[in-house]
Amino acid sequence: MSLSDQVRTEIKNIIGQQDAIETILPNSRFNYQVSTDKLGSIAQYLRNSVKARLAHISVIDMGVDGFDVVYHYALDHLEKRLHLNFKVRVPREDPQLASLAKISEEAIWPEREMMDFTRVKFNGNPITDHLWLPYEWPNAVESATEEKNSGDGEKSVTLPQNPLRAQQSLILVGPYHPSLIESVYWRLKVRGEEILDAEIKLGWNHRGIMKLFEDKNYKRALTLAERICGICHISHTSAYTNAVEQIAGVDLPPRARYLKTLLNEFERIHSHLLWFAVAADLIGFKTVFMLAMKLREDVMDIFEKTSGHRRTTNCIQIGGIRFDISEEDLTHIERRLRHLDKKTKEMLEWAQDHPVVRKRLEDVGVLPLETVTRLGGVGPTARGSNYKVDVRWSDPFAAYGEEYTTWDVVLDNGKDCWARTIVRLKELLVSYDICYQCIDYLKKNPGPYLLEMNNIPAGEGLGKNEAPRGELMYYIISDGTNVPSSVRVRTPSYRNNSLLREMLRGYSVADAPIIIGSIDPCMSCTDRLARIEDVRTSKVAILSLKEITRRCDRNGKLFSN
């Protein structure tokens, strides 16, 4: 009896045989309609007995019918392609649910996100601070009367400890800080140089892309998916097309499969080289930064040669690839890749031998396997702690399956920043190997590379892809029209960022950039708010910049008392 049968029977038992409505989707995806009270026991079973991952929670506004809360459970690291979606319908008048945070801590971030953006309340979530919305935004969990009282846009909070007498101080990193290319806001509580606690704030540039998806047809939405991330555009379009192709039930022609794999691997190579450069800069190694960026130019040239663009290449289409790669180009690409291969091996040896590099990275930002599984880490971050999660291996698409290419998932047992570096560098070598296999096939087998697509039928699709940073997930619901009914995106950095708090504790401020950098965070940002702490009165006010300029007197004093 396979794991999927076992799990399905057990879940039917929990729900009740006659109530269980199971929808079987292609690629071993199973949907269940669940009532609110059964959810806790299902989560307990999946968490404790099966060791499933709670990949994401999405909330879909169904209009007068209420909200659909979908719990996406990924079991693909246990059995290939196995995913379970549990749908709970909550009424519009009183959208309340019990939080799953006590059962699986992975739920904390998605629940906070959903509380920020929809009216659904998850009772019992341990952290009630806003994750995306500004801190002073009226809290969704608070009652309506409280909102009215504090509705003037300013909220004063008394600090738990007077900073003048405090043994520890607060260091604000970001939204603009030289160590972070994109901005994110960190509050590090430090004593001397030791970090005691860390808190992250997101939402500096929330663009509402998931809402924008709902006004664009499938082909135009592709362009939108490409623009979510500046670095991994092919990963996003691949995951999106995977989901749409799943709904349409099409099978890609073999040449398109290999081309898609090749392009995805190019992206991994360029992204890992970029990460390597940035990581070197974070420990003050400018030379390696320059050399790795120079190497990355090879991949950028390949992108330019094949698609005409260095970034945002718009190459992945629904049902295949927009263009073919000629044999001469393939030969040229292979030559460039061989060069990169040689240089990467040199770099790996060089990094392994350098005493100062080892000293800065070893035993820094240790992430035990237990923490990764508890908080749901993905990608090279998880693989550096010996957690085997890799979408290419567990949910193979395009030409990643065993029947097309042969390769191994890179794992390391080091658990520290050094292990994550080694995992990424070795993954580069694996990527070159996959590329050679693809090029070998593409040279010999011409054929069609783009399918003619008809209407997308009604249905649901859960498309996944292993982005350079980890597992990327698209959940698309189609209602049979040419516009998707709803699209939900779960990016890999979303999961990995929630690990950072555990990683930063106990290390020094000097280690903070490389620890934050070691998960390869990817965020977007603009600053519209300022946080001001007055040491004398221990009051904290959060105001808009306009408000500050208006209220400050000529001496720049904000708190006049």
């Binding site: 101080s169 260091i171 003050g284 400018k286 800065r360 401020v509 000097a510 903070a512």
Partner: protein, 337 residues
Amino acid sequence: MASYSPISWTIVAFVLIPIVAFALSVIYAYELRKIAARLQGRRGPYFIVPKEVRSVLGTSRVWQPLYDILKLLYKETRVPATANRLLFRAAPYVALASLVATLYFVPIAGFSLFGQFEFSIVVISYLLLVIPLSLIVGGSSSSSPWGAIGAQREAELTLAYEVPQILGIFALAITANTLSISNLIEFQNQRIPFILLNPFAALAVFITLMGKLQIKPFDICEAEVEIIAGPATEYSGRLLGILEIMKTLLAFFVPTLFIDLFLGGAVIGTFTNPYYPFSTVLFILESVIIVLVATIIHVFSPRYRVDQAFNWFSKFPLVLGVIAIIWAYAIKLLGII
């Protein structure tokens, strides 16, 4: 007793030494930037500007470090409202003044104003300590958390490298039985340079001088990805310009001190020797080589964390310093010199 130059010559030299030193230090800073750029696969400031852009850039950009400083001097100076204004404004000037004062005690290609002074080594050691001290004061009075952390790091690092440096320098004083830097040069010219006689001291002092110069892996106090610019975070305009002048002058001072202490001061004979003028050429050549070595260290190493640097300094150079002292005694006891 030491003999000093006549008063008129002293006054001229008093003005001339800082100017010449600064001019040379700009060239050394250019060398550091250019070679680092070439090793990193970049171009760096042009040595000879291509014809097409010569109308804009001029014929050479050797003075690029100077232009960068001049730009800062033109700019507006802002002082944070919460800073201690007096200490904040005074710190860069004190640092620069102490470094310029040190220059009068260090013989440059055999010529020096007060190098003959009996305790010039002691004076140099003291004045050198003023630079990190004033940076610490400036950083911690800026009321910025980055400045405070930078100052703390500066203090830890200074504690780490100061001891081996003093040990290394005074090992020479023990051997030559003098505390005057001019006498040390004389000693080396009559016998052999100290780099051969006491290589342990040479290595200890060289490493600690690299710490003083704040090149990688010891640029912990101004680690830009961690603490913005450390003590200099809140500095701007003229005050930052003064700090930059001080840092550039260090690029001249460090090789000069090393040449004086270990390479015989690059002096050929005495003033009356016909080959004496060539000692200036030799001096510049040796300085350029020392800057080149520093550049290579800078380019091929990442940054230490402050506790790692402290441990490293108290292991390797400190042991070298102690060995240098023992070696100096051994030489004396065995009567080699």
